[in-house]
Symmetry: C2
Subunit: 366 residues, 2 copies
DNA sequence: GTGAAAGCGCTAACAC
DNA sequence: GTGTTAGCGCTTTCAC
């Protein structure tokens, strides 16, 4: 970088005043006479002066920059969050530094470290799931404002979280299916934690404080359990299909399920990736939606309205998530407390045409 | 920010050496005795020392940060670019600052200014189309390394560009259609510049230096013109459908076209948004693909393989675009020249099932 | 090999 | 109202 910039000193010289006089008018604080003001402004414009925020940051201790770390900005959910964060951050006077972790704890740790070294004023992070989130913890302990996105894990209970209400989201979808008369409702979920434990949690009051410590996928299973219980449907564990977090894995899981002979008249897939896979699986088995099976997906991906019939989905307000996170974070940076500690945004059920009411077998045979 | 960090001075004190001794070992340059080295490292680890990159940047003049400015990271094309840039930048030791312009020249200018004030080492930008790109120009003139993404405009001829070969991309799609026997091939394009001028350019040698100054949409029209010419098909201007850059606008344009009675057996849409709209338009008119009309879209969006039959598309290597841009930019930052000035990445035709060979009317009637 | 000291560009006391 | 000065945390001559 041979490019040398014009400093406040140059402006002062050009204007024929002292460095501090120039500084006062350029930082628009302190007082200055009208003439000084004018001469400095003129000199600055003439020289093309551009304040060096590095130097300002050194003095002030603030960089007006926040960092956001997500698994992968290519995933629409995260790019929407990023957009929300960026918009609100900018409105509050912050720029944003991004990092993709690919769910690798080491990359996450390295990113956090780099952001800290660059002295970002705060960090919004969709953390990688892990036993011991010490990198995040350490930063937070040192006083770095941190807000969690979408997920939280043990050890991070004291950090603010901005997330969709995953329990409620799944509950809405399953309840809609039940309302249509379905009783054999399958659920395609990513994780496979002890169901017994989840059932216990499902029974507890809806504001159970530990729910947010579960993975989103587990929270969605709880939503399922609550919905069927509320509709007087008994749990059949065979209806809970597990799958890895890839379209192919989901498709195969659904195909296997459909081939198993286990009866089900409806299916809810609990995240965007699983939704694509599930839809492909249903179709590859030659079934039609909603005639053979009612289907509710997750996330309003474009394809859900390109296929016919259009797919009913639970939509999460992703961009709003980012916007909220940015607001919480900038408040934190400004010294305000994070209150409430948890922002649970509501998902919305977009009823389209992949769901049909379940005609009772007896009636259907008549 | 009451959080006070441990400085190199603290480490030096703890290690019982001078500030400069500590600095030498922590910046791993200069020489230090084994004992000094060890004591400093130990002290640093003990105190949890974290180098202040702000201070380093002040000295070195480099921030190891680049900025990327795009219209909107929610658009898959740009989030893929961002990912490509981020990956390569990180590998080269840079972090990345993002900005969304929503194609607003004022926001673009403001972003560039802010990035410059933060002293980024370089900028990758998908510029807003405008007559007078002075903000970019000013920065570049001042010595800021800049690489253009996807587009270039008059006045920026001297800046490096990383883009897909738009002419070739459209040419591939239209040629594929022509190879299938289609002679009445419609093109859905965003812009509507003087066709005569484009035809002139289409005739000129393929390496015409001014092609990259046209908007991508205009370049795609040139690809169309070249393809039909090469296949001995005469231009019928009625086959070039114009549309605004929204799904609805595209859908309406296609519906209008289909209702007009103008004969066409194939259609190519020249960008992702228009592709969605066109597909919707074809379907809303009750036509089926590829029986009634062959269709080739642009960009490999997920829905193109969710619908049936799956849609043939021209895919641009978006992430690779970002990766290349980052490489060019970091080289520029390191003082190397941008050579070549233009990186034109090749798009790939993904043949799927929305294209059928055109049976000649005479044969069809037999 | 090591320490003292200057300085990157800026702001904020502090005297005048 | 204005100028002088110290200092943010670091690197880097420069003597020793």
């Amino acid at each position: 970088m041979t490019r040398e910039s014009v400093t406040i000193m140059d402006v002062a010289r050009e204007a024929g005043v002292s460095k501090s006089a120039a500084a006062r008018v350029l930082a628009r604080n302190g007082s200055a006479s009208a003439t000084t003001h004018e001469r400095v402004m003129k000199a600055a414009a003439f020289l093309g002066y551009r304040p060096n925020q590095l130097a300002r940051s050194m003095k002030s201790g603030a960089t007006n920059t926040i960092g956001i770390v997500v698994p992968d900005v290519i995933i629409p959910f995260f790019s929407a969050i990023l957009r929300g964060v960026a918009d609100n951050a900018r409105a509050a006077g912050f720029e944003v530094l991004v990092s993709n972790t690919d769910n690798d704890p080491d990359i996450e740790e390295r990113s956090l470290e780099l952001f800290a070294e660059k002295r970002v004023d705060g960090i919004a992070i969709a953390p990688v799931f892990q036993q011991d989130p010490r990198a995040i913890l350490r930063l937070a302990d040192e006083g770095m404002p941190v807000v969690l996105l979408d997920r939280r894990m043990t050890g991070l209970e004291h950090l603010p979280l901005v997330s969709v209400d995953h329990v409620d989201a799944a509950e809405k979808a399953v309840a809609a299916l039940a309302d249509l008369g379905h009783e054999r409702i399958a659920l395609l979920a990513e994780s496979a934690p002890a169901l017994a434990r989840l059932q216990e949690l499902a029974e507890s009051s809806s504001s159970h404080p530990h729910l947010s410590l579960l993975r989103p996928s587990a929270q969605r299973i709880i939503g399922y359990l609550r919905a069927i219980k509320r509709h007087g449907i008994e749990l059949d564990e065979d209806l809970i299909i597990h799958s890895g977090y890839t379209t192919t894995s989901a498709q195969e899981a659904v195909e296997r399920f459909l081939a198993s002979g286990i009866e089900a008249t409806a299916l809810h897939a609990t995240n965007a990736v699983l939704t694509s896979g599930a839809y492909r699986g249903i179709r590859s088995r030659g079934l039609s939606v909603p005639e053979d099976m009612s289907f509710i997906g997750f996330d309003d991906q474009e394809w859900t309205t390109m296929v016919q019939p259009e797919v009913t989905v639970v939509e999460q307000p992703s961009q709003q998530l980012g916007a909220t996170a940015a607001t919480v974070l900038t408040n934190l940076v400004r010294g305000a407390a994070a209150d409430p500690l948890e922002h649970l945004l509501e998902a919305e059920l977009l009823m389209r045409d992949s769901t049909a009411s379940r005609v009772r077998p007896s009636i259907r045979l008549a």
